[in-house]
């Protein structure tokens, strides 16, 4: 196993672990904002996962998905915030 293989394997596990931890935060909240932040972070981490996975599988086509994911995660978060603010306005 070359260094890069080792590095990617470790990275995948580390990122996977992080994702699980963040997901735990998403599950427990407590506030809805916590969950949204967690969701945002999840998608950001997914980008990292995709990048490493692309190296592991020697294909580059996945990276574009990362760009989109970044854009959309942001939009999603904004939308949630938009919702939350409207909900609090009287």
């Amino acid at each position: 196993m070359s260094f890069i293989e080792l590095a990617t394997n470790i990275s995948v596990i580390t990122i996977g672990l992080s994702i699980l931890i963040i997901f735990f935060r998403l599950l427990v909240g407590p506030s809805i904002e916590d969950r949204i932040v967690a969701l945002d972070l999840l998608s950001a981490n997914a980008i990292a996962f995709i990048a490493v996975y692309a190296i592991q599988n020697k294909t580059t086509t996945f990276l574009d998905v990362g760009v989109i994911l970044a854009i959309l995660a942001f939009l999603g978060t904004v939308a949630f915030a938009f919702y939350l603010e409207r909900g609090t306005r009287r």
Binding site: G16, I19, L26, L27, I32, L39, L72, F80, R86
Partner: protein, 766 residues
Amino acid sequence: MLNLILIGFAASAIAPFIYKPLKNYFGWIAATFPLYIFLSFISRYNQIAGGDIIRETFNWIPSLGINFTFLLDGLSLTFVLIITLIGVVVFLYAGAYMKDYDHADRFFVYIGIFMTSMVGMVISDNMITLFVFWELTSITSYLLIGFNHHKEKSRKYALQALLVTGGGGLALMAGFILLSQISGSLEISSLYDLNETIRNAPTYTAIVILVLIGAFTKSAQFPFQFWLPNAMEAPTPVSAYLHSATMVKAGIYLIARMNHSLGGSALWQDTILIVGAITMLFAATLSFNQMDLKKLLAYSTLSVLGTLTMLLGIGSKLAIKAFFIYIIAHSLYKGTLFLVAGILDHETGTRDVSKLGGLRKHLPITTVIAALASFSMMGIIPLVGFIGKETVYSAILEVDYWGLFLLSISVIANALIVMITILVGFKPFWGKLLSTPKAPHEAPIKMWLGPLALAVLGLLMGIFPNVFIGRLLDQSAISIISEKLELPIKLWHGFNFVLLMSFVTLLLGVGVYYFRTKILHIAQNLKIKNIFKPSEWYEFLLNGMMSFAKLQTKVLQNGYLRNYIIFILVTAVSLASLALFKVENLFRITPDFSITFYESAIVIIIVLATFMVIISDSRLKSIVGIGVVGFTMGIIFIIHSAPDLALTTFAIETLTVILFVLVLYKLPKFLPFSKSYSRLRDIIIASSVGLFMTLVVLYITSIELQSELKKFYTDNSVPGGKGRNVVNVILVDFRAIDTLGEITVLAIAAIGVFALLKLKLEDRNK
């Protein structure tokens, strides 16, 4: 003959256009139409009486063996002549009678179509064509019974008649189809030599029952007789024409017509005989406490129809002879008396016998007509009714074993008919003058001319029976029992037992008339209740059907969406499992259990997120959860080499979130709606759905996929599709039309959202 039928329908259709301007002469004009048909047919009288059979065929639906095959033999000619002759009288009469009715033009349309259909039916040789006309008579009868449709009773009884005869019609159709399967043809004439084969066919019993149900319902035989008295809601010309002279005889005609091919078995003969006899007696007794002119006549008609059926059941030569004479005689006098009842109703404003009396001075012609017809009906020499009754008695006497018994009930029934005759034909005219709602006045000529002609004809036929009936009799009999009668008709048979019986009948009838209130009283004291009330069975069936229908609909169509869903899912899963679990090695599939760390992470996330959505008490939490599920799906797609799918999934998920966000804050909080029982039920259903799908996936993925498509797409993507993204080439080239449909869906959805949000109409049905 097809021309005549077509002319008949066409003539009926123009009635509304010419009725108004010609209202005052309409009876005369209308009468020319049956007269024309009558003349057309009577011109063939000699030919038919000479033994010819006229056959005409016009293709209709040859591939189904359905054609307009018309066959004119003695039997059908007899019926055609009765139908059209009485038609002339009734049409003329109706011209005057219906004058004060609204929309009398519609009346003539119906009755015109009716008459044409009736003619068509009796001359049809093709069973389906016959059935077509048969049903047309039912429908026109419905429209005519309900002619006074502002009255609830009219509507109700019209429907009753239609349902009973229509239901019988359906049975008849099934019988016909079964019958045609034996001969391979729908032509009745093709069955003539097959009597033996038919009787030995396994479907014979079914055919007999089905055909007889058709006949019995139409001819109001027990236990279907109840619709006929109720049909008296119709205007009187209808009662006279349809419900005494013609339509109700269609069933009798059918039995006679099919006797040739279906008859000869005990099943056929006995059924007809017994049902006929029961109807004869039962109907007559039902007349006992009636005071309505038309009801009285209706019961007597029923009794006669029973007698006619019984005669066919006896099936001897003499019986057939009696059948013919009686059917003609009855058509003449009963038609007449109905029309007389109509005159009384029309001129005095009541049909209640107890309110009528002493009208002879005011209605002298009617009195004469009534007397003539009544004598015939009572069987008094020298009217045709006398010959009829004599022959009937003689035919009954011939029956083995229980001839005497049949004769005695026949005498009782006829005595009751005598009583009815006195009530209808004499009581209103003789004795003390009773006051009536309208000042009595003789009817106009259009109303009495026809009845008078019929009454006189009854007299002439009695005196010269052979001139009018005799010649056709033999030919008609051939059609029924395939042999000639060779029995001459005579008015006078000498003093014999039968004459004695006629006399007894008359005496008994008069006696019953005088003591009828007392008899009724005794009967009531004895608590003799009529236990046979088929009309109640009808009500029971109808109400039962309605209650069941309501119950069923309330249970099934109960308004709960989830119940509908459960129906669908449970059906799907149970039936599909039924098929799937036949697989022997289904549970021996060994899936690939190798799992990497991130794969297990994915499973954990997607499963927990799913449960988060399910158990969540807040909408937003659910949305977050479903977002996680969606994003995880995207990751699964990436891992398994589907970047385009992942892109799309992410995009769609985000858009869905935006949508929810825009929509949701107006929606209420989740409420804990469901009970734990229903939750348990839903969990069971949900688990079975999930389990089924899992099994299917496991099973299929354990099989190798044989597909040529995968290779074709990658091979042709660059040279043919000019693209390296095979998925995209599939979308915009190989399967571009899918995408065209897909974007159409999107466009429609957008229009829908737009319209839903912007268009807010007032709710009219609030």
